[in-house]
Amino acid sequence: MARLLIVDDEADVREFAANFFRKRKVEVSTASAGEEALGLIEKQKPDLVLLDIKMAGIDGVETLRRIKEMDRDIKVIMVTGRKPEENSFERCKQLGALQYVHKPLELDELEKIVLKELFPAKKEG
């Protein structure tokens, strides 16, 4: 089963996104902060991480850097709030983030992006 880790400091977002992808046959775990996410990644080796940029403690960009330090192959999609910082997009790209989606996001687009990464073979079908 494909494994997805959702990292966001808003409980509602974690809960909603987790339910959304569980219904789509994805094994989902969640973390509310960067440190917690790094711990989980070490244990669970998810295929994909949905990573909120703006979080208390170590932020999304720094979390991304450390994830990539741990394992370059883990795919990461960044999720940003309403007012992303100016060069964060460039910075995330440099650090190896796959995509960059803005809140509020289009649900079908999020679904498409995530499922495409988790089930690459299915995309032709």
């Binding site: 977002v13 996001l105 649900l107």
Partner: protein
């Protein structure tokens, strides 16, 4: 059916009148829908003008889909939004309500053109990912304002026609209330903007005087600050006797109190020694000059009094008219005290500044003579509180 829809609508209409904050209003109504009709969730997408997109503003459900506020959006090219904004609902669905089951039937049996069929199919996919079975659009004229999304009823029962009617009426009422609230808010913002523009224009005018008269640099700002502090103290003591409008006028008048100096020759303003008698006379014209400058603005009536009479003295020895106790407008008397105090504590070409302690002693000495004793004592208190 135990629910009296007419009563529900009336209750909703009542809360719309009482609640002016659209967010609170929508949340209340969504909660009501979920409680009364027992749907798994209810959400509303509202047009966000700034971002030119539809944002899922509220989503409520006792169990089931509860999307965090502001987490998802539908752009204008989203099939569900397109479906409604192109008014396909009118053509394909009689009453404008998109019901998942019925739309599915429609897809199967009706002769649809390929484009409409595709759009409807894509719109239904949006319903699926939002776990929605009924969709109700709301319009203002021809603009799509928002879309109400409803989840399944308990036990996946069908919606009754009167339930649908209720939601249609409710949605259009909600849209109207939101529209009104937004217009109201925009109006408020516009007023606020105008007001800021006005205050900044006033500050710019005051700066024009200061640019001409180097000795008064910073003076306007300090006089304004002290004047407002005196007024606030008077207000506290007299339980809000001074109106908002008065405080506002005082703010503007103190900013502009020396505006008339624009008409005084620079040779006099910048002189390094005491003024000759004729120069002093000329200098003393500045309050009247100021009032003449502002005269064309009828809204500034009270402000003009502050500008014109800020050199009048309590004992009648001031200028331009020698007004005495009781005839000097309060706005002018306050500026006068603040102006006097600041002049004392500022270096002048012909004398050194007093320290604040010395100046306050001096204020005490001239209280009841040059200065209105009530205002002088308020100034004293402001000083004792360490505010100046």
């Amino acid at each position: 059916m135990a629910i009296n829809y007419k009563k529900e609508l009336e209750a909703a209409a009542k809360s719309m009148i009482l609640v002016h904050n659209p967010d609170t209003l929508i949340k209340m109504i969504m909660r009501r829908i979920v409680q009364q009709i027992k749907v798994s969730h209810a959400g509303i997408l509202l047009y966000d003008k700034d971002r030119d997109t539809y944002v899922l503003t509220v989503s409520r459900g006792p169990a089931g889909l509860k999307i965090p506020a502001g987490f998802t959006r539908m752009d204008k090219d989203n099939p569900l939004v397109s479906f409604f904004s192109q008014r396909k609902d009118k053509k394909l669905l009689g009453d404008g309500v998109l019901i998942y089951e019925e739309a599915k039937k429609l897809l199967r049996r009706k002769k649809l053109d390929a484009a409409s069929r595709q759009l409807l199919r894509d719109a239904l996919y949006q319903l699926e990912i939002f776990e929605t079975v009924v969709c109700i659009p709301s319009y203002f004229r021809d603009d799509l304002l928002g879309i109400l999304l409803l989840g399944k009823k308990r036990g996946n029962r069908k919606f009754w026609p009167d339930e649908i009617d209720f939601f249609v009426a409710l949605t259009s009422d909600v849209a109207m209330a939101i529209r009104n609230a937004q217009l109201f808010r925009e109006l408020e913002l516009e007023l606020e903007r105008k007001h800021r523009l006005f205050i900044h224009t006033t500050i710019a005018l005051a700066a024009a005087v200061e640019a001409k008269d180097p000795y008064t640099h910073g003076h306007t700002e300090r006089v304004t600050d002290i004047s407002l502090k005196i007024a606030n103290l008077l207000n506290q003591k007299n339980k809000g006797a001074l109106s908002e409008k008065f405080l506002e006028n005082l703010h503007i008048a103190s900013l502009l109190h020396d505006i008339g100096k624009i008409g005084i020759p620079e040779a006099i303003l910048n002189k390094n020694s005491s003024l000759e008698e004729d120069e002093r006379k000329k200098m003393q014209e500045h309050p009247v000059l100021g009032s003449i400058i502002l005269q064309p603005i009828p809204e500034l009536n009270e402000v003009i009094l502050g500008v014109k009479y800020h050199h009048e003295k309590f004992d009648g020895s001031g200028y331009p008219e020698g007004l005495d106790n009781g005839r000097i407008p309060l706005i002018a008397a306050i500026i006068s005290a603040a102006d006097t105090f600041d002049a004392m504590t500022t270096d002048r070409p012909y004398r050194k500044a007093l320290s604040k302690e010395e100046a306050i002693k001096e204020i005490g000495r001239i209280s009841g003579k040059q200065l209105d004793p009530q205002i002088a004592s308020a100034l004293l208190e402001v000083y004792q509180k360490g505010e100046i």
